[in-house]
């Protein structure tokens, strides 16, 4: 058993070395396929980070009537914090709201003058609500509309932000849909390309495989070296792809950071190195192995 395995591995390695042209072609194609898989992984990571970033920026303010005391408001805050859709809820008092307003519009002299002329704080106390997902704001708004304290609410800014939230929601939906469709198309192309490359490689060995059968080699002994070659091609392709992506992302990451709203692609790549290399190995070795298995079967009928 051990001696047979050793012979199969030795023969596979010799085949890989001697058919250097074919091996190089197989590595080239496999690198492309693995690159697609790696790209999909990175695309998923980047799009999730961008979506999360955008979602972080979306919030909703619930303004309450002037006569409501801060204790009443804290009670309402307590009640709202029990809603599962709400990730975070923060009480903003009238004074705080004024302070923030002044800070934000300090440079606008006309606005500051009109505020002074008013002589009192025109801003209302509010609760700042952040949901887990953009799509949940509609549900929260509905809940508030039907709640017992609806008559205490002066205004919810959901209606003003509704179109932005809606757009964000559709972007998120489309991005994940694009990811899935792109993934399916690329995987189909990758499988077809790899399968045909391996089939062409093995077609070259058609007569050799038949001869092996005729001199009494078992199917396992014939198939083994081709499978070993597939594994070697997959392994080298994974290493090459890892290197290409590592170097490219190291140099491209600063430019991509601007485009991806601060998402550091190189950092993401390094922190997921083990997962990425596993995906690369699995897709490279797996495809080579499977295609080889199917392609050889055709010539083992003698």
């Amino acid at each position: 058993m051990f001696i047979t395995l050793r012979r199969i591995i030795k023969s596979g390695w010799a085949g890989f070395r001697r058919n250097s042209g074919l091996s190089a072609a197989a590595i080239f194609i496999t690198v492309l396929v693995i690159s697609l898989a790696t790209f999909l992984f990175l695309f998923r990571g980047a799009s999730q980070a961008v979506i999360k970033n955008l979602e972080e920026k979306v919030d909703m303010y619930i303004y309450f009537n002037e006569e409501l005391s801060s204790n009443d408001l804290l009670e309402i805050q307590d009640e709202l914090s029990k809603i599962s859709e709400i990730r975070n809820i923060e009480y903003v008092s009238r004074d705080e709201a004024l302070k923030n307003f002044v800070l934000r519009h300090n440079d606008d002299e006309a606005l500051m003058e009109s505020l002074e002329e008013l002589g009192k704080n025109p801003l209302l106390a509010s609760l700042n609500v952040r949901a887990w997902e953009a799509s949940q704001y509609a549900a929260i708004s509905n809940f508030l509309a039907n709640s017992s304290f609806n008559n205490l609410i002066a205004k919810i800014d959901y209606q003003e932000k509704k179109s932005v939230i809606g757009r964000l929601d559709s972007i998120i939906f489309n991005m994940s849909r694009i990811g899935i469709i792109l993934g399916i198309i690329l995987a189909a192309v990758a499988i077809l390309v790899t399968f045909n490359t391996v089939r062409l490689t093995i077609y070259n060995s058609k007569e050799e495989i038949e001869t092996m059968r005729l001199v009494g080699a078992s199917n396992g002994f014939i198939r083994g070296p081709f499978i070993v070659q597939g594994i070697i091609v997959g392994f080298f392709s994974s290493l090459i792809t890892l290197l290409i992506f590592g170097i490219s992302l190291f140099f491209l990451s600063p430019s991509l950071k601007l485009l991806l709203q601060g998402f550091n692609m190189f950092h993401y790549f390094i922190s997921n190195l083990a997962v990425i290399f596993s995906i690369q190995l699995a897709s490279g070795v797996g495809l080579g192995l499977l295609s080889g298995w199917i392609a050889i079967r055709k010539y083992l009928r003698v």
Partner: protein
Amino acid sequence: MISFQKVTKIYQSDDRAITALKDVSFEIQPKEFVSIVGRSGAGKTTLFRLLMAEEKLTEGEIFFEGQDVHQIPFGKLPLFRRKIGAIFQDYKLLPSKTTYENIAYIMEVIGISEEEIAKNVPQVLELVGLGERAHNFPEELSGGERQRAAIARALVHRPDLILADEPTGNLDPFHTQDILKLLLRINEMGTTVVLATHNKEIINSLQRRVITLEQGQIIRDEAEGKFILS
């Protein structure tokens, strides 16, 4: 050892049926040296291909050591073929392996140890005069050298039967005699040899059993035959 019983092989080509063998019956005993003669296309190679279960029969039965060859399950065919040392007309050497590796391959398949392989392969290579060509690939060998490599591969694992299909077709008279002597020596050591050829001199010099095929049928089977074609 070998028994052909009313064997017929018909090839279907387009709308035409070509009869390669028709109603062929004969027996070969262990340790015999039998020559199959006939013109090109007489059915010699088909006979060998059927015996190795490389192709399916149209009719009849072929037995090897009491076993119906065409009833052997697909997975067991390698074990059966290991009992035969085949010298193919077109050599069938493995192009990506060196001469040494081609000959060692069958021993590796059987599971013979590395030491045994390292001992036997050079001996067989010397025997067929290819000692100097051990590390050359088939494409680097001449026609005659390839033929000798194919012969070495058929002998190296000491099979029960040697099927030699035109083994001297590409050899000069000097090497032809050498190979014949080798086959005779192997036969004397107890291996059954079946030789297919259309070389008159070889048959006449052998003075062994000759089966003559013509258009797929046996027209003569003589214990000490000569090369006679009508």
